[in-house]
């Protein structure tokens, strides 16, 4: 049996070698990639930051117990395997042996335990403690076993252990806000910290002892360039190798022979959806016919074409189209102004005074559509929506508000009629935080309440069986589609562009960076770098 396996392995290896020989190249070590980013990181301890730059940069330095593979399945990272007890209350992680931190220390269950304690410590200023506070007992019975127990089955628990594993020996007893790790991370990841010039760039160098093997690229450099146009010019002049394009740049400015020769553009659905949410305390929006009418009156295809230049897909619910959890068979609302008028008429909205606007009880149907400042796509979508709703006699006034004020004064206080915003979708399907009536006044800021959905969301959290969970969330999507508490608009495409000397990039549902350590540059294309 062993021999058979060995033979099989050799065959597979030969196959891949052959494949490489066929493409004429074998991966080689060397070169560095320069990534352009709009914002600088704030701290390299990702658990206490909420900005995407900090998470993006520190991700190369740390591992979690688990991670998502290219198809968004949960696979082991620092944990080789795990068992879930039959009652779903206990997860036991079996850790990989011989994993080293960048300073040579071995990673053990003591570190895992410490990271749990760190997250639930009241002194840790983290916004992500919620999932870990549900743990009733965490223990490390031996150096390679880490066990957590919950009071009741909690299906999103497993996903929560993608938590970056910090070194206990360096962080224990320290204030995370002043710890040197905040400026110079020490993790188990493929890249170790090089240096940080605040506001300018962050440099990471390869970690030779990385447990999955040394990454091909020698290093990463994040260059902070706050202006989008400058970022693009830097890309064209060779100052950066990797950035994210806007739809306009993707469609109209990168179609030149120069671009086709020097860059590879990628396109895949991003993990967020944009929506219009209604304040369901407002009597007008309490009527489901009104919400359905508005859904019929908004032409989502037109928004995708006009705002995203076609680079996106309509959203029908809170999951990414084409993924396992997405239910394609929910009720849809094709663009149909006549139907919209008819539904509004049924709800009592008519143009009784002939001024072109619908009214009821002497009051005109008009509302403000709020969105946050600084997101052109949302601002433009709001204008298109204003135009379409005007055609059915509903007057919309778009308003943009600066983010902190928007959240504090309008969302948190429930002082809005309708908002245009977006949610990030996590690979785990749990929807509790946004849709359960328990969360009204928190993330369920629209005051949405549906008893059947509440029950489903509770069940969904306690069900580990994937197929059963799928049934639950399929039904949840049907309810949301029927109820239309939000008008779901679109899921935009993510549009990264990478210099073409980088090989080994394979776009997948998880994006392009999941196999970053396997990216490489052929020797003859490598840029000269001076010795460190």
């Amino acid at each position: 049996m062993k021999r058979l396996l060995l033979g099989l392995a050799a065959l597979i290896a030969l196959f891949f070698l052959g494949l490489n020989a066929w493409s004429g190249q074998t991966p080689s070590y060397g070169d560095r990639i320069v990534i352009g980013t709009i914002g600088d990181a704030t701290s390299m301890i990702p658990m206490i930051t909420s900005d995407s730059a900090s998470h993006e940069m520190s991700a190369y330095c740390y591992n979690g117990l688990i991670k998502y593979d290219k198809d968004l399945n949960i696979v082991g990272d620092l944990a080789q395997s795990w068992d879930i007890s039959p009652d779903g209350l206990t997860i036991t992680f079996h850790l990989r042996r011989g994993v080293k931190f960048h300073d040579g220390h071995e990673y053990t269950s003591r570190d895992a335990l410490f990271n749990y304690q760190f997250m639930v410590d009241p002194k840790t200023p983290t916004p992500y403690g919620g999932d870990y506070l549900k743990v009733v007992k965490a223990e490390a019975p031996d150096p390679y076993t880490f066990r957590v127990s919950y009071k009741e089955p909690f299906a999103p628990a497993l996903a929560s252990w993608s938590l970056s594993q910090m070194p206990a020996h360096l962080l224990e007893g320290q204030d995370p806000r002043t710890s040197p790790l905040g400026r110079a991370p020490v993790g188990t990841g493929p890249y170790r910290f090089g240096r940080w010039l605040p506001g300018a760039r962050v440099e990471l160098n390869y970690f030779a002892d990385y447990f999955e093997g040394r990454p091909y690229l020698d290093g990463l450099i994040f260059r902070v360039i706050p202006d989008d146009s400058t970022l693009f010019l830097e890309l064209m002049s060779g100052g950066i190798d990797w950035m994210v394009l806007s739809p306009l740049k993707y469609q109209r400015q990168t179609d030149t022979p120069f671009f086709q020769k020097n860059f590879r553009k990628y396109k895949y659905l991003s993990s967020s959806y944009t929506y219009v949410a209604y304040n369901l305390k407002d009597p007008r929006f309490q009527d489901v016919r009104v919400r359905r009418a508005l859904a019929h009156a908004i032409d989502v295809e037109e928004i995708i074409k006009g705002v995203l230049l076609g680079l996106g897909q309509p959203a029908t619910g809170p999951y990414k189209p084409g993924t396992y959890w997405h239910n394609p068979n929910v009720r849809r609302y094709p663009f149909d102004p006549a139907k919209a008028r008819q539904l509004l008429a049924q709800a009592g909205w008519r143009d009784s005074d002939g001024d072109g606007w619908l009214d009821k009880g002497g009051e005109r149907f008009e509302f403000a559509l709020l969105t946050n400042q600084g997101n052109k796509n949302r601002e433009n979508s709001a204008v298109i929506i204003q135009h379409r709703l005007a055609q059915i006699g509903v007057k919309v006034t778009p308003r943009t508000i600066e983010w902190a004020a928007f959240i504090n004064d309008f969302i948190n206080k429930g002082r809005f009629e309708a908002v245009l915003l977006a949610w990030t979708m996590t690979p785990d399907p749990d929807l509790y935080d946004v849709w359960h009536s328990d969360q009204i006044g928190k993330l369920n800021f629209t005051f949405y309440k549906n008893a059947e959905l509440d029950k489903l969301l509770e069940q969904g959290r306690q069900t580990f069986d994937r197929a059963k969970r799928k049934q639950i969330y399929d039904r949840a999507q049907e309810i949301l589609a029927e109820d239309q508490p939000y008008t779901f608009l679109y899921v935009p495409d993510a549009l990264p562009v990478v210099q073409s000397r980088f090989h080994g990039i394979e776009p997948a549902p998880a994006g392009i960076s999941y196999n970053f350590i396997r990216w490489w540059v052929p020797k003859n294309l490598q840029r000269p770098t001076m010795e460190r």
Binding site: D40, T42, Y128, D175, R201, R223, D227, L233, V434
Partner: protein, 325 residues
Amino acid sequence: MALFLLKRLLGMIPLLIGITFLSFVVMHLAPGSPTDLASDLNPKLSQIAQQRLIELYGLDKPIAEQYWTWLKRLAVLDFGQSFAPDGRPVLDKIAERLPVTIGINLLSMLFIIVLAVPIGVYSATHRGSLFDQATTVFVFVGFATPTFWLALLCMILFGVNLGWLPISGVESINHDQLDFWGRLADYARHLAMPVILSAFGGLAGMSRYMRGNMLEVIGQDYITTARAKGLAERVVIYRHALRNALMPLVTILGLSLPGLIGGSVIFESIFAIPGLGKLFYDAVMARDYPLVMGGLVIGAALTLVGNLLADLGYALVDPRVRTEK
């Protein structure tokens, strides 16, 4: 003179306190709080976590108490720690951005003075000449052109098409491996565009200003007298007229001191320069109160010091101011 200086310095203290108090109150009245960005609309946030942050920042205390705590720390020059997750001392954050902002602004100011004074003097003494008319056109163009647009055009031309100059940042990635002269050249190449462009707008105004001053002075009686005495035109213009024409310029230079550290958000963003302007802008957006206050205090102090310096500069150029009082 010493008494004059001391009085002025002492008078600055209540003024500074007044400014900071108003700023503190206004900032806290602004909607939004530092915890919003860290916590709100975050699916993984618990109410407890937000409360934790509020207590950590001391935001649960009355504003007056918060201000008093802040002022006490300021007395020993402690600007406190940033609310950003790195929690670093405000002074460190400012100090790290200060050199580049001051450097660029000083260079561009130097650039402006070195060019504006001769241009102004020449146009004044050769009024109506082709040069004078050309500079008038230049001034209008300088005033009317949005610098960010000009910056982008220059970046495309010199950075992308010709490849002569780097597009953004202040140093190359391999900066550390260069020798001393190499580093100097690297800085120079990076700073060329930002310095020249930021000087461009100022140059237009300043040269026109210098021309006006010069014309005014040339029209004075004592210049006519000097000429009547048979002094060489050179001596009349450069020894007698120029000195007096420079006086208002000294005032302007003094007042531009706070601008030296304020930096420009637009410029720093376009050229990706890690300077103070961007730092303070981001701090305001994140409601990072200690950092915003730090910036305000330094800005206010420099405005006051700038005023003082302008007065002292007057005294240096014009002996009459010195002997008064």
